[in-house]
Symmetry: D4
Subunit: 214 residues, 8 copies
């Protein structure tokens, strides 16, 4: 039942990145600042990489105004299935996409994409219907404006999707810092300048004391 806590597990989860294409981001996404959105998408990508989750990339008409996939994602996942959909808007309507998911053997799907109300909402709702647990990464998904985003997230929440952000995805997968303190610290601080500042100040404070003690 969707109302009880379905917890992400790195052993059960796959990541679907839908239509993070340069044109779509540039021309359509307006509910996040451009710096912030790029950072969020790459943070989700690095999180998937860090936990070695299966990742499936898909694009819509990448030979056209929608533009190619963000180059950083291409570079990050050279071996991931990359489904160039010939026309299907809902990625779930593309057999290769669904097969690629089935091939992972995972039942928890972490989804982000552009635009939220279409490229995320449609496959998210389809996946729930197909029996998957769905976790939408809201801050790595963008659309026309805040009002469209809100309506779309409400639709998905009422449809049984769990709304998360990249940081809570990373934390729920990590579970315990001791699984890899340094690696996880590097992952999150590289995408959280606020956390990076904390680390800088901490090191500075210790350096001060060392100097005083010397």
């Amino acid at each position: 039942m969707s109302d009880l806590y379905s917890r992400l597990s790195k052993d059960d989860a796959a990541v679907l990145l839908v239509d993070h294409q340069t044109g779509l981001i540039s021309g359509l996404v307006r509910d996040y600042g451009v710096d912030e959105f790029k950072n969020n998408v790459l943070a989700l990508g690095d999180t998937a990489k860090f936990f070695d989750l299966p990742v499936i990339l898909t694009t819509s008409f990448e030979n056209g105004p929608n533009g190619p996939l963000m180059q950083e994602l291409v570079d990050l996942f050279p071996d991931a299935p990359k489904i160039a959909r010939p026309g299907q808007i809902n990625a779930w309507d593309n057999e290769d996409f669904v097969k690629a998911i089935e091939a992972t053997g995972k039942k928890q799907l972490i989804i982000a994409g552009v635009v939220t109300d279409v490229c995320v909402a449609f496959p998210a709702l389809s996946a729930i219907k197909a029996g998957y647990e769905v976790f939408v990464v809201t801050d790595a998904s963008g659309t026309f404006n805040k009002q469209v985003a809100d309506a779309s997230l409400t639709r998905m929440a009422h449809g049984g999707a769990q709304l998360m952000n990249w940081f809570s995805v990373a934390c729920e997968l990590q579970r315990d810092w001791r699984n890899d303190v340094e690696g996880f610290g590097a992952l999150i601080s590289s995408h959280l300048p606020g956390y990076q500042n904390l680390m800088g100040s901490y090191l500075g404070a210790q350096r001060d004391l060392s100097t005083q003690n010397a």
Copy 2:
């Protein structure tokens, strides 16, 4: 059950445009910019036209301060039933309106109107009670302010309505670009200046290369 993905189909859907009258828009709608709102309403109209969905127009006291229906909608749907309600606030209380819906034989209703909390919410909730699937087009529906809109959308979501926007409606109906690439591209780019810019840049880039190659 309302919690599973109810997917719009162009074969099952009708569009209800409720009280998009010049006075009501001018005097009452403040949760969208005027340029943006007009564009959204006409985009929904053009979407209905493109998919040849049955459309039902209705107005409330159009001979009075509420004003006539937006002229563009009148022109767009010359043959659509246009129910001038003599007094019923909830369009569902008007027998002709319900009959016109029944005459379409469709069970999926796409609704937008002015104002959201009354002219959309009342018939939307009535339609759900009557057994229809209801899809509210949030960005083609306007009201007094964002707080009123939010309360109203929450009421409808908890009542079983699915919240969408015109673009996701168009995409869910289209399903596959290949059904009509050019037509669908023209439909969305004519209402998405951001997409139009992408197309302009794409053509420009190809022109550049052609010139270089020449």
Copy 3:
């Protein structure tokens, strides 16, 4: 079941106005502009009056910093039960208040108050538990800020309350303009300057034509 459309009826509804006291409004309400909030509260009051609904007023420590009830409400409902609670925060804990509600014989309760998260949420949720249908008038209820309001409205929506605004309450009670066109027009235009402007323009337009024709 709360998920189907529970529709307000002027024969089944009573109005509860909880703690609209001068001090509380002045000192605590910050999620609405002061002009706007006063207008909304009085609009709800006038709506109750127009439909001759039973109204129950209640206050918390009105002899103290919370201040007396808004004078306009006192004047509007000279004969309404006015329960000055000696200490209970949740009005539902006050027997006189509950008895006054029971005495109305109504099962639909329209509630507004200050502050939303306490004086509205507590009796609203208690009333639902006691078997009433509850309609919260969000824009005649105020609190510390938008974030507190949102959390509180979410709590109530998930608890089964229906979120409305004064205008949708008035419209759902009226049902058909023909029940009293002039009276209802006067009611809403007196609290909607936007509608009043429409009426002014309409009359002006007709005056112009009359002059031209003369």
Copy 4:
């Protein structure tokens, strides 16, 4: 020189209300809430009345979509010159308007209107050029959005206009409460619900003590 404090005086000031017409307010003003804007305009009107300042009303194409002057202003100033401009956009280009100002013999002009960037800015800058001191009542002037308002107010401030709001106009004219404590208190509390609440609480507090003492 414009950079030193030019202080409003009730003996030197006239009020110009430019194009507060129902259509223009309804169709174009979006930088203030409708409740708030109506209240601000009427507050300025009542202020002018209270101090018995000469008022000049003017309209642009009132027989047409722009609509008639707000009825409340017509009723408030039955004897004021009302210049229906046959076509001039800048009221200062209308000889009758300028003559009406000259006839007042005042050198301080308090201006408000719709829309700020045209109907206020043009005559305000013209009046400064003609040697008048100009005080723009920003919150009784409305326009398309906040960005347009800001650009326009900056233009006027750099052009030598003093930016005020209706409340500061009233206070600068009043100078000393003792000139008429009751009258001035009534004036401002009738347009400041926040102040009205303070008065309600104050009276309540004193009533409490009286009761205790009795």
Copy 5:
């Protein structure tokens, strides 16, 4: 069932304060102003103290950039269990934390923390799954931005948590002012400057009258 009003009781409730550490607040919390957030957290702390609720403190890597617990909380609860988690991100994964909760014998858990989407959401959802009633104190919980907060609160609300704020928690626990008028008044006015102003004005008003009567 979560949809009926679950009401906080001071006899059944414990408070969990999760990771209110100086570094995390400083580096990560951006959805509340810094003055406001500090005030909210301390208000919740004082509320717990006032009602003598069992409080459990926990921290994540307090010897590091996350920083120590806010000193005020340390001082306020010198005898509370303080679980320094060696690595678990979800506090519920820490046996000592869960045992400390079980040791209280309470079934209602009031939770706040930093950041909302992780340190609050994870244990909140885990606690619901474990059979507890969970009350999230939204305004004493902070995170990266409003969009992340909203997604996270939606996730928890759909998962069965009740969204509250510190003031409604205090009021729901207090139930009746007469249980301790002075104490409760001191509690809330010390964290609500708006209420403090009301008290100042009330005392002033009575002082005035006393002077007049003398």
Copy 6:
């Protein structure tokens, strides 16, 4: 002196449209909604056309990611000088651009462009230094965000530029409706949906009366 009202005249003014290219708009402009910005730019273009002002178009690296000029502007001004700058960022550094301006013989320059802080601010300040009167059309100029726009507009205002919007430019050029009532009405209503609604309502109102009289 820049502090006195410098009034636009259709006989003295030329329009400079700087770098309204599809890529720059799509990738960089975030201080206006996309619908709104496109409408503003085209409204300024139509205004220039209506008053038959000399227009000079210029682009920066149009054969590249910046993209071609908006097609609508190309179509609107087929005969205007179109200066494709080979590298100069400040259009004023391009001799052909300055010569084209000199060739118009005008001393009032109306400037808009993308991005405001560079493509507008640089030539605007250069033109003032060169002795021109400069009118910046703020709402037909876009940039990264509101904060950048504000800083840039402040720089220009302090540098002597007059800040306007397309509507006030149109009105200041028109001066008197009687110069062409129909033409000017068509111009502004085609870009102001709010005004268009007023006209719809006005016609509707007159139609009603005609019908009643018939």
Copy 7:
């Protein structure tokens, strides 16, 4: 000349606190959060105290709805002149107020008050005219809304006032931390929770290292 840097000096400055009365703050101030505003006012008070600047308090009708001065200010400055104005709105019109300023012998006036557009703007502009240098503490001054505040601050800036905030006032007076590192640190951290967090983290970091070294 006002355009060159006039720098605050603790030897030349006096502080004027105008009408920080409980009623006015409660009923009228809406451009700052209540927590934030109280903190700012007390921070300015503590700053004045720390530098031992002469402070002059004044109130308007404190025996009435405006309410008494904030008790904290009364307690902080028991020996400061406290001018209860019998009616003058502009404090500068009160001879005792001006004499109290003259008695300080200072030529730099730091002003804050409620409401900004009246109680601050009027004496600020009067003081400039009288030859004083005026520094307005914007964040310890409150009014109806952001738009009124902006217009008022623009008026004062163009009139020659320098706009500051309490923190920059404190820093400009302090000039060099070495004048009193501990005292100044205590002053600012007591009103900047963000700075207090930094200090907590710094001490924590050093404590960690000490422990490691032990």
Copy 8:
């Protein structure tokens, strides 16, 4: 005179980076998103590097809670003078800082820092008084909130500073793309994800055509 266009030249300009320390950014800066602010500061740093401008770094109490300078700036400018001020708040009061500036021989100073109202405003105004031309980089300067930033920027603009952003600084220094097209393109695209998207799309479009042609 400050009112004419003072144009940045790479031969005349030096860059002052004041107090970009980890603690101050983390604890105090709230007027920019953390991702955005870090990007802006590094963009300004890279701009200075690209044009080989002399850079002067300075810090306030870096051995303490204010924290060390951002490590990226340390790494970027290993040879720049780094003035660790022993106590002076206004960097201009530090002789070494002023001497370092004089040693550059430049008369145009580009300043950014934390916090805007103190660490930027004080040296900016001092530098103007000392005869320098000052260009404030608003988006690489941060402070407590937008209201404090606005007041501070207004103070500086009226004091003669020119308000810019990092991108306009880069463009005004570059003057002509042809001076180094590739280098400048790399500079700006590395800090403008929006521009980077344009480049991705452009390359994609050309690749498409090449493929088609092949």
